[in-house]
Symmetry: D2
Subunit: 304 residues, 4 copies
Amino acid sequence: MNFSGVIPPVVAPLTSQGELDVASYERHVNRLIDAGVDGLFVLGSSGEVVFSTDDRRRQIIAETMRIVDGRVPVLVGVIDMTTPRVIDHARVAQELGADAIVATAPFYAIVGPKEIDRHFRLIKQAIDLPLFAYDIPVCVHVKLNSAMILDLARDGVIQGVKDSSGDDVSFRNLALSRTEQGLDLKLLTGHEVVVDGAYMSGADGCVPGLGNVNPTVYVEQWQAFKDGDWKRVRELQDYAARLMRITSVPVGEFGFGAGVGAFKTALMLLGIFETNTMPEPVVALEGANVEAVAGVLRQAGMLN
Amino acid sequence: MNFSGVIPPVVAPLTSQGELDVASYERHVNRLIDAGVDGLFVLGSSGEVVFSTDDRRRQIIAETMRIVDGRVPVLVGVIDMTTPRVIDHARVAQELGADAIVATAPFYAIVGPKEIDRHFRLIKQAIDLPLFAYDIPVCVHVKLNSAMILDLARDGVIQGVKDSSGDDVSFRNLALSRTEQGLDLKLLTGHEVVVDGAYMSGADGCVPGLGNVNPTVYVEQWQAFKDGDWKRVRELQDYAARLMRITSVPVGEFGFGAGVGAFKTALMLLGIFETNTMPEPVVALEGANVEAVAGVLRQAGMLN
Amino acid sequence: MNFSGVIPPVVAPLTSQGELDVASYERHVNRLIDAGVDGLFVLGSSGEVVFSTDDRRRQIIAETMRIVDGRVPVLVGVIDMTTPRVIDHARVAQELGADAIVATAPFYAIVGPKEIDRHFRLIKQAIDLPLFAYDIPVCVHVKLNSAMILDLARDGVIQGVKDSSGDDVSFRNLALSRTEQGLDLKLLTGHEVVVDGAYMSGADGCVPGLGNVNPTVYVEQWQAFKDGDWKRVRELQDYAARLMRITSVPVGEFGFGAGVGAFKTALMLLGIFETNTMPEPVVALEGANVEAVAGVLRQAGMLN
Amino acid sequence: MNFSGVIPPVVAPLTSQGELDVASYERHVNRLIDAGVDGLFVLGSSGEVVFSTDDRRRQIIAETMRIVDGRVPVLVGVIDMTTPRVIDHARVAQELGADAIVATAPFYAIVGPKEIDRHFRLIKQAIDLPLFAYDIPVCVHVKLNSAMILDLARDGVIQGVKDSSGDDVSFRNLALSRTEQGLDLKLLTGHEVVVDGAYMSGADGCVPGLGNVNPTVYVEQWQAFKDGDWKRVRELQDYAARLMRITSVPVGEFGFGAGVGAFKTALMLLGIFETNTMPEPVVALEGANVEAVAGVLRQAGMLN
């Protein structure tokens, strides 16, 4: 089982009543796989994991496994506040056939470095699946320490890192040490706007939220990287960075509502999703904001 | 149903195997009620809500309702990341007989002010119980806006605030506006070291974690406040502030491990709890740290 | 030389051309002293120290010493980024006759705890004047450690703390330890809205920016505190808290522009200052914002 | 006058008494120029600007202009808290012949976006030299807004940005917009460990603190970038990233003491500086920490 290349964090479509829109979801997942992605990350931050009840999480995993049917590996986010709750989610993921699980450090709970280390070790003891550490300080409010990551990798606790830390200096140093120490630790960047820089730094792949809207650009970029064609890597990145403006054009929106709100709106405009409905308490983009997203898609040649 | 006075956030004892220690819990709850507390707040941050699985949460609520048996009101923390998950917890609390629920703003999820407002309104629509807004930026990483709190109170959405914001200036202003506007909004402070200042500012009561260890000091202080005996209010506060050093003497511990770790250790030393076991991934205080807690209890005259 | 009681951080009036308005300043300083303040703190954060060139700082100190003429002690802020620069300012303050100096931890510079400790010791070695540590994390982005403060006091390095930390729990603990350890360390609170709580905690006085506008309320409160009349202490605090709304009513302003902007505007409306001119790059309150400040003054009975 | 390519932030050697070591400084500056750097940035954060008195700042500028004698452009940091103080420094820089000045947003002072914008405009009005905005939130505690930067560039206020923001996503977007809008705005990265990623994003050069120790690697990397040889750009970056470990091997040091402390120690070990003396209140690296720096230099082949 390989966990490198392009692994989008799959966005979940909802019906106007807020139920999972299974037909749209199937269309969406198949489109990603057909575009050549190397894996799927479901129930990530973009995949509205923290907005989903336990039942919804179970449903999303089950539908994903059914649709994917072994074509690509499926990583499942088991995001929750502390070890016992994460393990409960991980058991469900394992039972439903996940290929790997992705967990953050504890949050809300105020703990120190030794508890974070222990947290990952306890998860691994309970659930023998490949484990990715999810480094996302903007949500968890702590940055994973690189020395701890290397220790956990050396001890076989974690098999990869999904880095959404926004700290490119730390990422470079981690990648360098990982390679020098000969560790089998996959490093995936979540920053879709600077994947080229992450490849320069030694990333093994990317988890681009924007890849939901345009998977092809990241698949081609990954191929160009493997071919050593840095000029092409960069050009594709500039294209993707411009397309990412769908998330900055909405006015009066913020964070998840602007970002995932724009992804869902774009997918609706592209005919993949039926609606751009957002999970509570977030409200979907409307009116001029939808039009602004459409404008960016047009400039990118994705919409007429 | 009145929600003022001393309402400790009840700490939950665990067996050495990590199960809820029901016998110790019963002893503990009865001791608090016998000391004269005005209510109990279960599944608060000290009550290890985020360290508890859904099953454990359900167990704690059920045992609490059984033991309390209507002697004092019971507020239940329904802490989770977003609205749908909070509502799931709140339904359980309601079904098990909670007298009020306590919810934070969304966390992990990156949302803006309008989503926070909507979050509280949706919870109230779903669960018609008295609702307290829990303002705890050290965990949630956002401070509740005072203007929003006043709006929610005016609209009948929230009936109180549990303030652990550490922002005494904001608390004073909120209390002043609440009184001027004639709103029925209970303001409870969670800062056990400066309850006297909070009473000066207009607090309707306190939710002191330290009240688990010594409920009497806060009960007497509340009475002194009602009697207008500020000198006594202050003396009792100084005593409590010295006792609170049980949480700062442990070496090498941090946050929840130091704070609730010290409360549990003190309750073990006082013979209320069987163990000072902590929930994973936190490890209990040991050796010299236990002795340090004992030393503070002795200085306070609580231990021989 | 005593440094307790009410010691306002004196705001500096400017002419419409941005020069120091000496006539207004003299009127202002005399009004404060006539109201019974116990000292003056010039070149504090409200006293626009960081907005003043070295020449302006020198001018403000010199004019202050001339006007005060020994009637009350004068504390001088020597705010700058690192030790050598602070010492340069402190030499000027000493030469011009300051009674004490007030210094923050280094800022902009990224240093650790041992450098902060060393910083205060080096200042004291260079300038043998009473030294106050100024704890203002909102500007300096570090909170002074209480154990370090107590060490510095024990070693005779610092004689007081001007606390604008917004951390009432830490302040209570510091005051308690100071008293238990028999240290001669003056603790002054900068939070004008909760001075009553600070007195409960053991403060030796206050440095209220709002005292520029209404010194009398703080002077009376200090007297009530010394008389043990806590009810009166609290009533006066509520009055002051309402008056402090002059800083929250301006729309579209922020931080120094709203706070000191409102103080200057109020002093202009009260006829003490000729203008409400602000130092660059801040613009003075105008139009509806001036009227809003006037409205609060009227409600407080300070303006007809 | 061109401001692209490699422009190191020049570190200032001190004698053991803390005076500027002019002989070492001359050796250092000449070594940098001989290595082929495209410019020099003096009195930057690494150049201990905030640790220098006004006299020291003047001395550093004067000595630099004398030594450089027009061989490369000299940018001078005019770092201070607010507009009037920055302008005072900028007048000195202009008088002494600086080719450009570099200013941050106001700090310590709590101001909002409109004051930051006004700050840069007032500096430009007062001093008609090329002006670089220095984006360094780790020191200034505010991130410069990209829309404001683009506005200031369009209006001719700023001619460049020295980006030490650590926000590679924002940097990519800024570079993209700058190019699309045809603005003549130089973008220089201060992050010496990920210069390759910055070149991918469109940087016009770098300001590498590590370039003090090894200017050649950055000069060669810049040439490789201009030649389109991305493989070489990346290899040189990996080499530099390993060399940068001189700043992480010191134990018990932090921030400026670890970073610039390591640069000075390396330059001492390389025979360029006489001492590794640090400005107060920072203490120089000693003993095992010096040896640790030497070890990294040896691994990099810079020391026998």
